[in-house]
């Protein structure tokens, strides 16, 4: 047998008091944020009888998706009892065009402000920045009036326009800062090559802005999906988004409060932003880094 080298003496201390404190803090913070999610998840899997009698933190005795099923397709939102799926579809119908429109308009505005600097660019930029800092509730009433004049109040088009307007400051700033960091000579070279406003934008600038587009998608998808007040005011009865429907389910006053259904409906509503974060976390960080050192 060959003699193995044996460690000699006392095992070196890895965990100092400071380390332990740090870990304790991290674990407590994680619990602080995860406990509500855990409670919602287990509650949504329990029947009402178990919820009434059992401990809020206990695991479900017989996990069942009945509450999820009911939240999705039969819970009552006000007078109708078709579940939250109606809201889900509405939210998707609001989300897709709003995200696309706000990013496209923001990207074009940011591009124009960074490379072309048209007359009045300073003024437009200043206006956008001010808009970004004014609470948007201030704009709601004037917009409602304008939209009903224009005949797009309470419509899908109306809510898409609203999201595009309110997304404009952030989206413009995001893209402008990205484009401003690119060498101006790139733009000049394209001008000499005969490319115009749109060709330079589409064939040269947009391909370089992919990481920023991903960041923009993440910001807009979560922002627009989570919106409540704008959807309530501008979308109209037919197109109420999921958040508003969720509120209706959770706040129905007749009968017993069905916590399991409420929890399931809430989780369903949170699913899209959660998925976006999980799928895009890496991209998000990469996009921010890419924005800092340019692509």
């Amino acid at each position: 047998m060959t003699a193995m080298a044996q460690p000699n003496g006392r095992r070196p201390k890895r965990l100092s008091a400071g380390r332990i404190g740090l870990y304790a803090f991290l674990v407590i913070s994680a619990l602080f944020f995860l406990t509500p999610l855990y409670v919602m998840l287990v509650t949504s899997l329990k029947p009402m009888s178990e919820i009434r009698t059992g401990n809020i933190l206990a695991l479900p005795a017989a996990p069942s998706l009945a509450a999820w099923n009911s939240a999705w397709s039969s819970a009552c939102t006000g007078l109708q009892c078709n579940g939250i799926r109606v809201g889900f579809l509405n939210s998707i119908r609001i989300l897709v065009p709003s995200v696309m429109a706000s990013i496209m308009v923001g990207a074009v505005t940011g591009y124009a402000l960074s490379f072309w600097r048209p007359r009045g660019a300073q003024l437009l930029f200043a206006t956008l920045m001010v808009m970004a800092f004014i609470p948007y509730q201030v704009f709601i009433y004037p917009l409602v009036r304008m939209f009903s004049q224009a005949g797009i109040a309470n419509s899908l088009l109306g809510i898409v326009v609203v999201h595009t307007i309110f997304g404009l400051p952030t989206m413009t700033l995001l893209f402008r800062n990205h484009f401003v960091a690119l060498p101006i000579e790139l733009f000049k070279a394209a001008r000499v090559d005969g490319a115009g406003f749109w060709r330079i934008f589409i064939q040269i600038m947009l391909p370089m802005a992919v990481p920023i587009i991903v960041v923009a998608i993440i910001l807009q998808v979560t922002g627009i999906w989570n919106d409540f007040i704008l959807g309530l005011v501008f979308a109209g009865r037919e197109n109420l988004p999921m958040t508003v429907q969720l509120n209706n389910i959770v706040n129905t006053t007749q009968g017993e409060r069905t916590y399991n259904v409420d929890m399931a409906a809430t989780l369903l509503t949170a699913l899209v932003p959660l998925a976006v974060y999980f799928l895009s976390g890496r991209w998000f960080v990469r996009g921010i880094a890419a924005g800092a050192v340019k692509g």
């Binding site: 060498p183 000579e185 790139l186 000049k188 070279a189 394209a190 001008r191 000499v192 090559d193 005969g194 490319a195 060709r199 064939q203 040269i204 391909p207 370089m208 692509g295």
Partner: protein, 355 residues
């Protein structure tokens, strides 16, 4: 192969005037270098010729056409930038062909031109790479290729070699000169490097303070600088200057010694008693051991430079640097007898203008 003429061109950024009433005639197939310190408006002038910048006053003519209000693509120009400015998401081939596609050219004609340019610049193997996969020298070759395919009659270069290391710079410099010879195109080349200017140019325009200080052949710029700025900016090691005055008998008088100026080609007759600066380049000072008129110079420092020696000397108070053959036996503390050939002297008045 076109003439370029700038007539009374003025450019200002807001209230800050960058170019003031500039006139410049560039001949067909000429290689003109715009030389000047950074910030003097060289790039601005080039951008104006390219049409990337609107001018506030004057006209720009290219090939006998007034192009003052024309788009860059319609001016018959091609441009190469300091930062290469290659399109990062496109292959080298796409970088070269982009402008031609925009112009709506036929595929086989595009292929023909790209292949030709790639052969001329030896970038044939790089055609399918992205700019990020190229070295600095290769990137600049591609950028030059992008200008070549345009078949332009005027080429504009904005400090194309500044980002390269010394060896590549020299290599691409000769390459650009060779291209000029074979294409016969008019070239306008911006640089702050006097060596580049002297080696490449048919004529150099030295710029500073919103205007052209001197326009002339490299020889004229080097041997007959129009003012002290040009004299200082061009030439390395730099020209030595001695302050003095024009004496009673028309001599140059410094403290403790004087120099006859009878053979100096004055542009205007000198004023007796006027203060002047005398300038002489290190390689124009002559070592004359047996000449009775030679001035004794005390050597303070000797710098061997490989091909030759640079000796820093003093005649009285005046500091004079001289270039000597590498094998000269000289050490600090020696005294050297120096002669200043009159046709190599430069005299500047108190305002710095050549006399």
């Amino acid at each position: 192969m076109s003439t370029v003429s700038l007539r009374g061109v003025e450019i200002a950024f807001g209230t800050f005037k960058v170019l003031d009433w500039l006139d410049l005639e560039i001949a067909q197939s000429e290689f003109l270098v715009l030389l000047g310190p950074s910030g003097c408006g060289k790039s601005t002038l080039l951008a104006a010729i390219a049409g990337l910048l609107e001018i506030d006053q004057g006209e720009i003519w290219i090939g006998g056409r007034n192009v003052t209000w024309e788009e860059p693509k319609d001016r018959g120009i091609a441009m190469v930038f300091q930062s290469y400015a290659l399109y990062p998401r496109m292959s080298v081939r796409r970088n070269l062909s982009f402008g031609l596609q925009v112009a709506g050219m036929k595929r086989d004609e595009i292929d023909r031109r790209v292949t030709k340019a790639a052969t001329m610049l030896q970038i044939g193997e790089l055609l399918d790479r992205k700019p990020a996969e190229l070295s600095g020298g290769q990137r600049q070759r591609v950028a030059i290729g992008r200008a070549l395919v345009r078949d332009a009659s005027v080429f504009l270069f904005d400090e194309p070699l500044s980002n390269l290391d010394a060896q590549l710079r020299a290599e691409l410099r000769t390459e650009i000169k060779r291209l000029h010879g074979s294409l016969g195109a008019t070239m306008i080349f911006v640089t702050h490097d006097q060596i580049e200017a002297l080696t490449l140019a048919d004529r150099i325009a030295v710029m500073k303070d919103r205007r052209i200080q001197q326009l002339g052949t490299p020889q004229e710029i080097y041997l007959k600088p129009a003012n002290r700025f040009v004299a200082t900016f061009v030439g390395s090691p730099a020209m030595s200057f001695v302050s003095g005055r024009i004496g009673e008998h028309g001599n140059f008088e410094a403290s403790g010694w004087q120099l006859p100026l009878a053979d100096y080609a004055f542009a205007a007759p000198p004023v007796r008693g006027a203060t002047v600066d005398l300038g002489i380049r290190p390689e124009h000072v002559v070592l004359a051991p047996s000449d009775p008129h030679a001035l004794p110079a005390r050597v303070e420092l000797v710098e061997p430079m490989g091909s030759d020696l640079l000796a820093w000397t003093r005649i009285g108070e005046a500091a004079i640097s001289i270039r000597l053959p590498a094998e000269t036996q000289v050490v600090a503390g020696d005294t050297l007898p120096l002669l200043f050939p009159p046709h190599r002297l430069n005299l500047f008045d108190a305002q710095g203008q050549r006399l």
